[in-house]
């Protein structure tokens, strides 16, 4: 079975998705306050690495979701917004609907399991 990363189109597509994803996040009034423009470049790099690792089916992703978001207060509405934007960015990058569904299901599971 090819990994989600391969089915999405590999690292180059991930980079395109992340670029688009942050474009959407920083224009959404529900979540834009979470993103410091100065930190954005390094955030994108970290996000690319995290997504590549998670979707590549590796055992341990490089960043712990719980620790990475410990300083933020995040509402369910905001989580939904982020997921919608990620899905939208993947769609814009031409990712197949089933691959998108699986990627979102996986990421959503990892997010909700962060306090387990």
């Amino acid at each position: 079975m090819r990994s989600l990363l391969e089915r999405i189109g590999g690292a180059p597509t991930i980079a395109r998705i992340v670029e688009d994803f942050y474009g959407r996040l920083t224009h959404d009034p529900r979540v834009l306050h979470h993103f410091d423009p100065k930190r954005l470049p390094s955030l994108k790099v970290a996000q690319c690495a995290w997504l590549a690792s998670v979707l590549g089916g590796e055992g341990t992703p490089p960043a712990d979701l719980r620790a990475a978001h410990a300083h933020l207060v995040i509402t369910d509405d905001q989580v939904n917004a982020v997921i919608t934007h990620l899905d939208g960015a993947m769609e814009a990058a031409g990712v197949d609907a089933e691959v998108r569904r699986q990627a979102i299901a996986l990421i959503s599971r990892l997010w909700h399991a962060r306090h387990f």
């Binding site: 090819r2 180059p12 979707l55 992703p61 599971r109």
Partner: protein
């Protein structure tokens, strides 16, 4: 964490698994009473609290034979027993999820029916749900549950008894008050940390006064009165029940879970209520009926141990009579009535047994059919009984036994009805051809049957056709089932039309003739139709449709417990996957098919087809050790006439020979095979062989052979194959790339990638414009990336990767990031002209024309050289 005393580390392990992206399941295994269900329940509660949607499903012994029974509770209505159920269940899960991640709890997963287990496996592997399952140590779970672990999707968690240090907290939680160290010691000594035993022991000790409450803690007053083991404790508890209660639990122990109206005919309703209150029994809703069962399987085991053989027989007789007289008796109850009567050792008439055996055959429970039918046969050795049991043997791959039974000298054929003689002849012809591979003997049996009973002419014709079709005599096959005839639409007729016309290069005509995938219920033919339909779809150029139809067929077979059909569909799916470029998946499907074939009616022909697929997949993948092993296995098989779907194997031999002894040897073998295929008009497999010859480096020879049999092929694939062979014989890259593209459109990704590499080579060899060569290289590379590793010559000898020098890559990256040439020049301290000339080379290598195209193309460029 509440509810996980002494289980904190296991609980944390489940959490860790949930956070690992490479996992989709946790399997919790342990002994009875060790607290598996408890841990699962705590996990589900905690997950729900953290925003997961929970789907909870349990396996039970009573429902282990009913497909998808475990998931039935998710549906608003009853199971329909068709393909719609899976869709409905998935929809129900999707609705419950409402955009939340799903945790699927499978309690007692070792008792799940196969179809539910398969569904759970799918839900985990396509990431629809994270599965947490409990398994009793020593029980054999359904293969799909074990597969979760084998496939690397699940981690295993073995649940040991509680540790000594955890007993204090455990006792306090059970009694809601702390206990002294002395009580802990006594508890440890007796239970060694088994939580179920510990709980029962503590509650009993409190009730009989062995422990008493003083100064806020329980103190040990006298010795624990309870017996030494959990089983003994349950025994003691059951022994204390009154006679009427004993009778109720004994009935459940011998009869399995029972419908409320059945058990109430035999015991007082009040007794059942009391047993429910005492938490020995529970009642669940199943299919609109209340079904009564034990609260924990250890109670059933304990009850059975206490029951005398004679009492058990008496109870079975009572159950059989009560069910027989029940006003709510259903057709399938005859199975339970016959089995109970047989086990009770009385009043099972041959008629009843035979009726039940036929029902068991229809429900694919061939072991039960064999048992019931054999008893019927021993009591009355009729041809009817022999044919029923022989069918059951055939379906379990035991052809020799089936043959012997039909020729048992006690059978008096003269008294058998015409219908029974017909059925026996059909079974025997099946044994001769599909089982023993002897087409001539089978044809003889069919001829004799038709001579004796002219009314069976249609069946005889379609059976003859199937033998010819499967033996690669397509023209003869079609003479028995002309398109549009009645016989062409019988199960064997459909198989014959699909197989024969596809072999003759007319897969599209075949599919049009049979219409949408026909449904014939379970029959030997359902399996071979699966293969034939899948192969026809592929050869007509619809690989993805073959995959979809194949998986649907496989799921249906899985649900119906139809092993034979599973073999057929697995082979078809494997073949589609191999064409599609998923060699590993293909390998798994072929492997599964071979494994399943052994105990099915496909024991011989199914194995032949599956091993053929494995050989081709292994040889083309460069896994020569495996290919040699599979070839040796094929060599060890006795001759079988059903060779029509074994061309994968014969071609596989050639590919192995190519890897071991060079392309020349392989080409000679293929040339011989192609010559053998010609007289019988097996043109589609022949075309594949010619393509193989072209792939191995002799497209000129392939074209020469092609001219020997000019034919109109229908569908899109076979004509594309012809075009590809012709293009490969020339130097012009354009038609080669066109052929690659049309093959890719049909889902033939391996061929497409190989041929595209050929186009690139031709462009390079001809010295085409660098930008054009680069475009071919890029496209070849793109197609190459769609498939897994194949080790055919095209992939070994060509490396169509684009390589940029370090400086070129540096400059290209900066330009792609939006810098102007001037900015790049300043940054790298070189001249603008140098930047431009590097950039021009990059454009040529990547086959792009503008800065906008550059960033896309960069992702496809290879490493620095």
């Amino acid at each position: 964490m509440e509810g996980v005393i002494g289980r904190e580390s296991e609980f944390a392990a489940i959490g860790a698994a949930l956070r690992r992206p490479d996992l989709a399941a946790v399997l919790i295994s342990g002994d009875a009473g060790v607290g598996k269900s408890h841990l699962l329940a705590a996990t589900m509660r905690h997950a729900e609290h953290n925003g997961f949607a929970i789907v909870s499903v349990s396996g039970t012994r009573a429902l282990a034979d009913i497909p998808l029974a475990a998931f039935a509770a998710l549906l608003p209505s009853r199971l329909a027993g068709d393909a719609g159920d899976l869709v409905q269940i998935r929809r129900a899960i999707h609705e419950r999820a409402a955009n939340r991640p799903v945790l699927l709890g499978l309690d007692d997963a070792h008792l799940l029916d196969e179809a539910s287990a398969a569904l759970a496996h799918q839900l985990a592997s396509d990431l629809t749900a994270f599965v947490v399952a409990t398994l009793r140590t020593g029980e054999v779970p359904p293969a799909a549950v074990t597969a979760l672990h084998k496939d690397g999707l699940a981690t295993r968690l073995s649940l040991d008894p509680l540790r000594r240090g955890d007993l204090g907290a455990f006792a306090a939680a059970t009694l809601r008050t702390g206990v002294t160290l002395e009580v802990e010691d006594a508890l440890w000594e007796r239970t060694l940390g088994n939580p179920l035993f510990g709980r029962e022991l503590l509650l009993q000790a409190r009730d009989v006064g062995s422990i008493s409450l003083r100064e806020g803690r329980y103190h040990l007053v006298g010795p624990f009165a309870a017996p030494d083991t959990l089983a003994d404790l349950v025994d003691a508890r059951l022994a204390g029940l009154s006679d009427v209660h004993q009778r109720a639990i004994a009935l459940l122990a011998v009869g399995g879970p029972l419908e409320i109206d059945l058990i109430e005919r035999l015991v007082d309703a009040d007794a059942l209520v009391e047993l429910e209150e005492a938490r020995v029994l529970v009642a669940d809703d199943q299919d609109d009926t209340l079904v009564v069962r034990f609260v924990h399987p250890v109670y059933a085991d304990a009850t059975r141990r206490r029951l005398g053989r004679l009492t058990a027989r008496q109870l079975l007789r009572e159950l059989a009579t009560a069910l027989d007289n029940s006003p709510r008796k259903r057709a399938e109850d005859v199975l339970r009535i016959a089995t109970w009567r047989l086990d009770a050792g009385t009043d099972a008439t041959p008629d009843l047994l035979l009726q039940a055996a036929r029902l068991a055959n229809r429900r694919n429970d061939f072991a039960l059919a064999e048992r019931l039918g054999s008893h019927a046969f021993e009591a009355e050795p009729s041809l009817q009984a022999a044919a029923t049991v022989a069918s059951a043997f055939v379906e379990q791959g035991q052809y020799a036994k089936a043959f012997a039974l039909l020729h048992d000298e006690r059978i008096d054929r003269a008294v058998a009805s015409a219908r029974d003689r017909f059925r026996a002849a059909m079974v025997e012809a099946t044994i001769q051809f599909w089982g023993l591979g002897d087409g001539a003997s089978a044809l003889g049996i069919i001829d004799r049957m038709e001579a004796e009973q002219p009314s069976t002419a249609d069946v005889a014709e379609s059976f003859r056709a199937s033998i010819h079709a499967a033996s690669s005599r397509p023209v003869e096959a079609m003479s028995h089932v002309p398109v549009g005839s009645v016989t062409a639409h019988t199960p064997f007729g459909v198989f014959s039309v699909l197989t024969a016309l596809t072999a003759m290069g007319k897969p599209d005509t075949a599919l049009t003739a049979v219409g949408p995938m026909p449904e014939f219920g379970r029959s030997t033919s359902s399996a071979i139709i699966g293969v034939a339909y899948g192969f026809a779809l592929i050869e007509t150029g619809r690989v993805s449709e073959a995959l979809r139809v194949g998986v649907e067929g496989w799921e249906r077979a899985m649900r119906e417990g139809d092993l034979h059909a599973r073999v057929g569909w697995s082979v078809a799916i494997g073949w589609a996957e191999l064409n599609f470029g998923r060699r590993e998946s293909a390998n798994r499907w072929f492997h599964d098919a071979a494994e399943l074939a052994h105990n099915s009616a496909a024991a011989r022909h199914g194995l032949l087809w599956a091993l053929g697929g494995s050989l081709l997949a292994a040889a083309q993948g460069g896994d020569l050790d495996r290919a040699r092993a599979v070839q040796a296995e094929l060599d060890a098989m006795p001759h079988h006439d059903a060779i029509a779907h074994s061309y994968m194997g014969t071609r596989g031999r050639a590919w192995l020979a190519a890897a071991e002894r060079g392309n020349g040897v392989a080409i000679e073998m293929l040339q011989q095979m192609a010559a053998d295929a010609l007289p019988g008009s097996n043109l589609a497999p022949r075309l594949r062989m010619l393509m193989d010859i072209a792939r191995l480096g002799r497209p000129d020879l392939a074209v020469e052979l092609l001219e020997q049999a000019p034919t109109e092929y229908d569908g899109t694939f076979l004509p594309a194959l012809v075009a590809a062979i012709r293009a490969l014989a020339g130097d012009d890259p354009a038609p080669v790339m066109d052929a690659a593209e049309s093959l890719n459109d049909g889902g033939f990704r391996v061929l497409a990638a190989e041929i595209a590499a050929g186009a690139w080579q031709r462009a390079q060899a001809r010295g085409d414009d660098a930008r054009l060569v680069a475009q071919y290289a890029r496209r070849a590379q793109e197609l190459r990336e769609l498939i897994e590793a194949y080790a055919t010559p095209a992939f070994i000898t060509t490396r169509p990767e684009v390589t940029l020098s370090r400086r070129e890559r540096e400059i290209a990256t900066l330009v792609a990031a939006g810098r102007t040439s001037r900015e790049v020049a300043d940054e790298l301290i070189i001249g603008v002209r140098t930047v431009e000339s590097h950039l021009a080379r990059v454009y040529a290598k990547l086959g792009v024309r503008s800065r906008a195209e550059l960033s896309d193309a960069l992702g496809l460029a290879g490493a620095t050289s």
